[in-house]
Amino acid sequence: MLAGNFQSALRVSQLRKSYKDVLAVDGLDIEVRAGECFGLLGPNGAGKTTTVEICEGLTDPDSGDVEVLGMRWSSDASKLRQRLGIQLQDTQLSEKLTVYETVRLCRSFFAQGAEASEVIARVQLDEKKNSRVGDLSGGQKQRLALACALVGDPDFLFLDEPTTGLDPQARRQLWELIEEFKKSGRTILLTTHYMDEAERLCNRVAIVDHGKEIALGSPRELIASTCAEHVVEFTAGSASHALDVSALRRIAGVREVHTENDAVLLQVSELHTAVPALLAELTRQNVPLTEFRTHSATLEDVFVTLTGRRLRDE
C-alpha cells in the first residue's frame, strides 16, 4: 500500500509562515476531504498562494503540520510528487515549444498517466497541438497549464488562481474542464479571489484574510449564516439633503447596513416588504434616490459582512 486509508486528502494544522516582517500565514487549519473541491477564497495578499505552496511542498512553513494524501513532505516527497497535479500561479511555459512537446515533456516525469495527445484532447487543445506556446491566447495557455497538471493522472489537483486575467468565455471553458475532473471523484484545492468561481466549483470554501481563516462552509451555508438572502444597493441624498443612515436599521427585515463611499448596502431577508419600507423612509426623509439595485447575496457579500472590505480592493 502506498499509504493508509484516509478520509482527508489534506490536513493542515496551525500553519505559520512569515516573510521578513510580513506574516503571510497566521495559524491556519485546513482539512480537505477526499473527493471534494475545496476553495481558498480571499483577497490578494491574504496568504492563499503561500498556503498552497506549502501544501505543494515548494515552501517550508515556519511551524505547523501538513499531511497530504496521508503522507508528509519530509519523508515521502518523491511518492507524493507522482500523485499530485500542480498548476502554479502565472508560470510561463517555454514559448518556443509546441503544445505537444510541452505536454510530452511533463508526461515524461510521471510513471503513470494518459498519452500526451489524449490529455491535450481532454483540455480541448487538439487544434493547437502543433502550435508554439507563444502563439496561444491566455485561456489556451491556462488550459495547457491544466493539461500539464493532469498529465500524471493525479489524485489531488492544486489550482492556484486558474482563471485570473481570463475573459468570461475562457473562464467558463476552464470551469467546465475542472468540473469534468471533479466528476472522476478526485480531490481539488483551488484558490481564487472570484466569488462566482468558488460558488460554482467548490463544495466547501474557507475564506481567508490576513493569513487567517475567517469562515468555513459550503458557499450556500456561508451565505445563509452570515447574511440575509438579498442585498439592496442604492445611493441617495446630496450634500444639502444628507441621508440619515441610522433610521434604515429600524426598517423591518433589514439585517445589516453598510456604507461604501456614497452607496448604501442593505442586507434584507425579504425584498417584497423591505423595499417599499425603504422607499417610504426615503420619502419621509425627503432625499431623492439616484441609484437603486438588488441582487441575491453572494460570497462577496459574506466577505464584506465579515471584514467590511470588498474581495477585490483595487
Binding site: M1, N5, Q7, A34, L58, L97, S108, C148, D155
Partner: protein, 363 residues
C-alpha cells in the same frame, strides 16, 4: 474496509502492468530534446554560435594573410646608380631629381634615396628607426657593391619557410575555438536558467516529479551534442580554407573540447545560480568573460602582459583551454604534455560545480 477511498482505487489501478515506455519517453531524453529544440528555434543563437566565429576567422584570416615578400620602393637621382640597382628584384627603383626624391622620402613614398657622392661614393638617405628603411639600405648596398664587382667569400642559399602552423590564422583558430567554447557554454546555460527562473518555470518543474539532477544534466548533454557541430564547423573551416593544421590526435582534441565546455558550463551555472533577471545575468557574465577575452590569448599572445600578471593569467580557465588547444592542434602535443592546463580546467570545473550546487536556487 467498507469505504472505497481514493488510495484503494489508486493501488488497484497501480497493479496493472505499466505500459512499456520507449527510450524517447525518458525524462532525460525529453529534457535534452527540449533544450535542443529551444536552441535551434532561436535564430540569433545560431548566428552567434555558428556563423559569428566563422565570419571572424575569415575576416581576420584575410586581413593577416601572408603576402609575398614585399618590394621596397626607393628613389635614385642618377641613371648610372639606377642601372646597377635594377638588378635587385626586391627593389622598385625610380629615377627622379634630388628635391623630388627628398620630398618622396619625407612623406614615406620611398624608403630610401640613393645619391652619387664625390669620387664614385654613394650616399644613402633613410630613416634608421624604420625597418623598411634599414632593409632597403641593405638591399641597395648589396646590389651596388655586387654591380661594382664584389664577390662573396661564402656561398649561401635560401630556403623559404612558409609552412602552415606558424601563421596568424594558425594562432587564431584555436583561440577562437576556445573563446567559442566559453561563450556558448556560459550563455546557453546561464541565460536558459535565469530565464526559466524569471518565468517561474524552474519552480513549476520542481513542483513536478522531475528528478532535479536531470534538469542540469540535460544542459550538459545538449551542450556536448552541440559541441560536435560547433567544433567541427570551426576546425573544419580553418582546415579547408586556410589549411590550419590539426597535428594532435582528434581524440585528445575532442576530449579537450568536452572538458573545457563542461568547465565553462559549471562557471555559467555558478553565475546563474541565484540571479533573477536577464540584465543582471548578462552583466555578470560579461564581467567574468571580458578579462579572459583580453588576457587569455585569443587574438594575441598572453605573453605580452607583464611577468607579474602571468601567474594569474595562466590560472584563468580560458588561458588553459587555449594553450592546450594550440599545443594539440599546432604542435601535436598529446595529453601528457598538457597536464598543467588540464589540471587548471579540472580545478575550475570542480570548484564551480560544487559552489553552484551549494548556491543554486530553483526560485
Amino acid at each position: 474496509m467498507s469505504e472505497n477511498t481514493i488510495s484503494e482505487v489508486r493501488v488497484a489501478a497501480g497493479e496493472q502492468t505499466p505500459r512499456a515506455r520507449s527510450f524517447a519517453d525518458h525524462p532525460l531524453v525529453q529534457l535534452t530534446l527540449v533544450r535542443f529544440l529551444e536552441f535551434i528555434r532561436e535564430p540569433e543563437a545560431i548566428f552567434w554560435v555558428f556563423a559569428f566565429p566563422i565570419l571572424l576567422a575569415a575576416g581576420l584570416g584575410i586581413a593577416f594573410r601572408n603576402r609575398p615578400a614585399e618590394v621596397l620602393k626607393i628613389a635614385v637621382v642618377s641613371p648610372e646608380l639606377a642601372q646597377s640597382l635594377q638588378r635587385e628584384k626586391l627593389l622598385d627603383v625610380q629615377t627622379i631629381d634630388e628635391s623630388a626624391a627628398q620630398e618622396a622620402l619625407r612623406n614615406g613614398k620611398v624608403a630610401l634615396v640613393a645619391l652619387p657622392g664625390a669620387g664614385g661614393t654613394v650616399e644613402y638617405r633613410y630613416d634608421d628607426t624604420n625597418p623598411e628603411g634599414r632593409a632597403a639600405r641593405l638591399l641597395a648596398d648589396r646590389a651596388i657593391q655586387t654591380a661594382a664587382g664584389r664577390t662573396d667569400p661564402v656561398a649561401t642559399s635560401d630556403q623559404f619557410m612558409r609552412e602552415p602552423g606558424s601563421r596568424y590564422i594558425d594562432f587564431l583558430i584555436p583561440g577562437l575555438l576556445g573563446m567559442n567554447l566559453m561563450g556558448s557554454a556560459m550563455w546557453s546555460i546561464g541565460f536558459a536558467i535565469v530565464d526559466a527562473r524569471r518565468k517561474k518555470l524552474l519552480k513549476r518543474l520542481v513542483a513536478s516529479p522531475m528528478p532535479r539532477a536531470y534538469y542540469l544534466i540535460s544542459f550538459l548533454l545538449s551542450r556536448i551534442l552541440m559541441l560536435v557541430v560547433e567544433v567541427g564547423v570551426l576546425v573544419g573551416f580553418g582546415a579547408l580554407f586556410f589549411h590550419v593544421p590539426v597535428r594532435g590526435s582528434l581524440l585528445v582534441l575532442s576530449s579537450l573540447c568536452v572538458l573545457s565546455s563542461l568547465a565553462f558550463c559549471a562557471l555559467g551555472l555558478l553565475l546563474a545560480s541565484r540571479v533573477k533577471t536577464i540584465e543582471a545575468a548578462s552583466g555578470l557574465m560579461n564581467v567574468v568573460m571580458m578579462p579572459m577575452w583580453i588576457a587569455s590569448g585569443v587574438f594575441f599572445s598572453s605573453q605580452k602582459f607583464p611577468g607579474l600578471m602571468q601567474p594569474f593569467i595562466k590560472m584563468l580557465p580560458l588561458t588553459a583551454v587555449i594553450d592546450a588547444l594550440r599545443a594539440n592542434m599546432l604542435q601535436g602535443a598529446n595529453l601528457s604534455h598538457m597536464m598543467p592546463q588540464v589540471g587548471i580546467i579540472l580545478f575550475w570545473l570542480v570548484i564551480c560545480f560544487a559552489l553552484a550546487l551549494k548556491l543554486f536556487r530553483w526560485r
